[in-house]
């Protein structure tokens, strides 16, 4: 054992005294900055989009719009869109909404245009259009007639919209909106929503349909009873939230509702809910219930996956940093290739092998060194990424956990541990590629060959698999490249349908054994 430790020490010294290794360690530190940096820039851009209008006074701005549009000569043109804008601005001025983060502002913007569309009278529009067409002088040239016809469409649309805006004011929905605006109380908004769904429930034909509406009622009841901030469309379930008013309880309740609907749908044959979606939905219901009941307001899972996150924070940065693990793969390929091939190209292999150490022990010590260096780089990357993320996003969220459903039970894992596990899962690809490079460099005794082939495999493997999968060549699912991304396979988002993690691990294991046998045979048997 002491001897093996000495062999490994020798390998570490040889590697660390090489300039290339030092450059690599510097690159790893640099890579630790890259992804948190990108996330930081993205979050800065996001912020400017959302807070850009903060300084302007909304009431004064909309007053100007109202004055400008009302003073305009109606025949010289006020478009249909401007009619809607005018109505919206009137309400904003009337209820003195000075801030665009006021939920009432969005209530108006989200609902008024839909309502006006509801009151739109197509027959009236056709009638006006016909009248406008008659006014056109038939003695004009064809081009002039066409131009006037186009104008006629716009005029008719504008007049019809104006009429719709007036009609709508008689609808109960409009009255409801005014009532909500008047009260300036979210509870009133939620009550209105609940009342509408209660009415829908009475009309529901089956128990399943009733249950679906009840899920919606439960959602808004929860929001009302817990003072959860929300703005959006009346009578609908759409989400419209920004970082500035983010409230996890809203999303938990919303997700719970949507998933409950999916579960009921699957169990009663309503809608197209697949088996896969059904089991996911069940998990979401379990998770949301847990989150709401235990007042857990932060889940690392919501931020950590950059594709699905609503907010950009410390955990988004940490989640993104896992992408840098592949970069370690590129560097470790070089180290693995040099480790064996350099001994041959420098002729030092003869001095290494005349020592009283069996060849396989030297091979194992070299492999151990390469792989352990990979993991040292991984830990270094994790530490640098964490520090850089802390610098960019602060440390207020560092103690948070990730909540997931495993076998129907909610499991909470410390966030940093979860991200590190994700690093480890990604590192499997690194180990496989390092082993490939190791085997090639032992077999060919050329570092250039080993680096070239391994990098080609690492960078081109995914492309090859996508092409083969697009060509519907199903055997490609057993290629090593199709099985390296265990996270995607576990999520079911890999190139081939129904890939299982166990099969992937099996394919990886078979390849590793083959690579190892090649290296073993070449290193221990060959004459020098």
């Amino acid at each position: 054992m002491g001897k093996f430790a000495n062999l490994v020490k020798n390998e570490y010294i040889k590697n660390l005294k090489r300039t290339s290794t030092i450059v690599m360690l510097i690159l790893i530190v640099a890579a630790g900055f890259v992804f948190p940096g990108i996330v930081k820039i993205a979050s800065e851009l996001n912020d400017t989009v959302y807070y850009g209008d903060d300084s302007t006074d909304l009431v004064a701005y909309h007053k100007e719009i109202v004055e400008g549009l009302e003073n305009r000569d109606s025949t010289s043109g006020i478009t249909a869109e401007e009619v809607i804008t005018l109505e919206e601005s009137k309400l904003i001025v009337a209820y003195n909404i000075s801030n665009d983060s006021d939920w009432r502002y969005n209530l108006i913007l989200e609902n008024l245009d839909d309502l006006i569309e509801m009151g739109y009278d197509e027959e009236f529009y056709e009638q006006v259009l016909a009248e406008e067409f008659e006014k056109i002088d038939t003695n004009l040239t064809e081009a002039e007639i066409t131009a006037l016809q186009y104008k006629a469409y716009d005029i008719a649309d504008s007049i019809a919209t104006k009429k719709a805006a007036e009609t709508v004011k008689k609808l109960p929905q409009y009255a409801a909106i005014l009532n909500i605006l008047e009260s300036n109380d979210l509870k009133v908004f939620y009550d209105t929503q609940i009342k509408m769904f209660e009415a829908e429930k009475l009309l529901a034909a089956t128990d399943a349909e009733k249950a679906i509406v009840q899920a919606k009622i439960d959602h808004f009841t929860y929001l009302r009873d817990n003072d959860v901030y929300y703005y959006g469309k009346l009578d609908e379930l759409d989400v419209s939230m920004t970082e500035s008013n983010y409230d996890s309880r809203y999303f938990d309740s919303y997700n719970r509702m949507m998933s409950a609907i999916a579960v009921i749908g699957y169990e009663n044959g309503i809608g197209n809910v697949s088996r896969n979606e059904y089991s996911k939905a069940k998990d979401i219901v379990t998770l949301s219930d847990y989150m709401l009941e235990n007042d857990v307001t932060y889940n690392v899972a919501d931020s950590v996956n950059p594709n699905e996150s609503y907010v950009i924070d410390f955990w988004t940065s940490m989640g993104m940093s896992t992408s840098a693990v592949s970069f370690i793969g590129l560097l470790i390929i070089v180290i693995a290739a040099l480790s064996v091939a350099n001994e041959f190209s420098n002729g030092t292999i003869k001095f290494l092998l005349i020592n009283p150490v069996k060849r396989w022990k030297i091979l194992v010590s070299k492999y151990f060194t390469v792989i352990s260096m990979g993991y040292i780089m991984l830990i270094l990357l994790f530490i640098v990424s964490t520090i850089v993320s802390l610098i960019f996003f602060g440390g207020s969220l560092i103690g948070e956990s990730m909540y997931e459903v495993v076998d129907g039970e909610v499991v909470a894992t410390f966030g940093l541990l979860k991200v590190f596990k994700s690093y480890l899962v990604n590192s499997i690809e690194v180990v496989v590629m390092a082993t490939l490079a190791f085997a090639i460099s032992t077999l060919m005794r050329s570092s250039a060959f080993a680096i070239g082939i391994s990098m080609l495999c690492m960078l081109g493997g995914n492309v090859v698999v996508s092409i083969l999968s697009a060509m519907k060549l199903d055997w490609a699912r057993y290629l090593i490249f199709a099985n390296l991304d265990l996270e995607s396979i576990a999520k079911g988002s890999s190139s081939f349908a129904y890939q299982s993690v166990n099969t992937a691990i099996g394919v990886i294991a078979v390849h590793m054994v083959i690579f190892w046998l090649i290296a073993w045979d070449a290193f221990t048997k060959k004459d020098l």
């Binding site: 040889k14 002729g347 001095f351 020592n355 009283p356 004459d527 020098l528």
Partner: protein
């Protein structure tokens, strides 16, 4: 272990034993039934022209090449069967002394020290002094000359007090002073510390000064193992030539018509005698010349024309008649 020490006690002097060694690389049969023993306390020369199979044999002793057929044991340990035990007793340089370029001389030595047992820092320092590298040991290998790398190679090879020291063409790249130093080191190791030193070379003159015994190899076959004395004797040949300077060369030649003679105008008469009786014969000839009334100015035994180098070339060119001398 006990078995080995017992064996060593029974046959104390055999350090390396090679029995009917064969090697084929590709389709070429490189070694044919190589057999020899090297003993503790001697410098064994392994002599042969380029491509004779010296390096191949050495590589097989240190395990760099596999053994097709035959047996090699080092201090009683079979190289193929118990490699680690056998190599514990071996130090060596095979082909050129290549070292890790990114490391200094000292760091290189530490690399090898870590693979051996019981090599202390003091021992490393001692060896560095012995090979005369103390001043430059902390420099990177890239700054070393071939001679310096050769010295470092020797240092590396003797680091762990090996019982068998195998050096493949160790004088390559060394200057004459360096060669002499190395020679002294090797002789001291063999004669004072009882190390079996095996040195390969294609230079007979080098072997003559360094070795106690020489094994000659040509075209993959062992021609024989000889002591230096045997070789010297072989080189002296079967006849002796004497140059006689007299007052009358023609008459002298006439006088010596019973002997094989040749006349060199302006110099004298050369007489060729059988080596075994040359001394008695030349005394008789001298007496004959003087009694004939001629003046004998000088009687000179001609310097041996046939050098060891000639013997070596002669031997290695006789592809079938190996082992006939001495």
């Amino acid at each position: 272990m006990t078995e080995n020490t017992n064996q060593a006690a029974v046959l104390p002097q055999i350090a390396v034993s090679i029995k009917s060694l064969n090697k084929t690389i590709g389709k070429r049969h490189i070694l044919h039934d190589i057999t020899f023993d090297a003993y503790c306390g001697e410098v064994f020369g392994f002599l042969g022209p380029n491509g004779a199979g010296k390096t191949t044999t050495i590589k097989m002793i240190v395990g760099l090449l596999s053994i097709d057929d035959g047996e090699i044991s080092v201090c009683g340990n079979d190289v193929a069967k118990s490699f680690e035990k056998a190599m514990d007793n071996v130090g060596g340089i095979v082909e050129n002394p290549e070292m890790y370029k990114q490391l200094t001389g000292l760091q290189n030595l530490r690399q090898y020290a870590r693979m051996r047992t019981g090599v202390t820092e003091e021992r490393i320092k001692e060896v560095v002094e012995l090979v005369g590298l103390s001043n430059r040991i902390n420099e990177k290998i890239t700054k070393y000359s071939l001679g310096m790398r050769q010295r470092l190679g020797v240092a590396q090879a003797i680091l762990h007090h090996p019982k068998v020291l195998i050096l493949d063409e160790p004088t390559n790249g060394l200057d004459p002073a360096g060669i002499k130093e190395l020679r002294d080191i090797l002789k001291k190791l063999a004669h004072e510390e009882g190390v079996c030193v095996i040195v390969s070379s294609h230079l007979m003159s080098e072997m003559e000064l360094m070795c106690d015994r020489v094994g000659v190899i040509a075209n993959g076959s062992m021609l024989g193992v000889y002591s230096i004395e045997e070789l010297l004797h072989a080189s002296s040949g079967t006849s002796a030539e004497y140059l006689l300077e007299t007052s009358d060369i023609a008459k002298t030649a006439e006088l010596l018509s019973d002997y094989k003679t040749s006349v060199t105008v302006g110099e004298g008469v050369t007489v060729i005698l059988d080596n075994t009786t040359a001394r008695e014969e030349i005394a008789k000839i001298n007496a004959l010349i003087i009694t004939s009334g001629l003046s004998l100015y000088a009687c000179q035994r001609k310097e041996e024309k046939k050098s060891l180098e000639d013997v070596f070339i002669e031997m290695t060119h006789q592809e079938e008649g190996g082992g006939q001398i001495g």
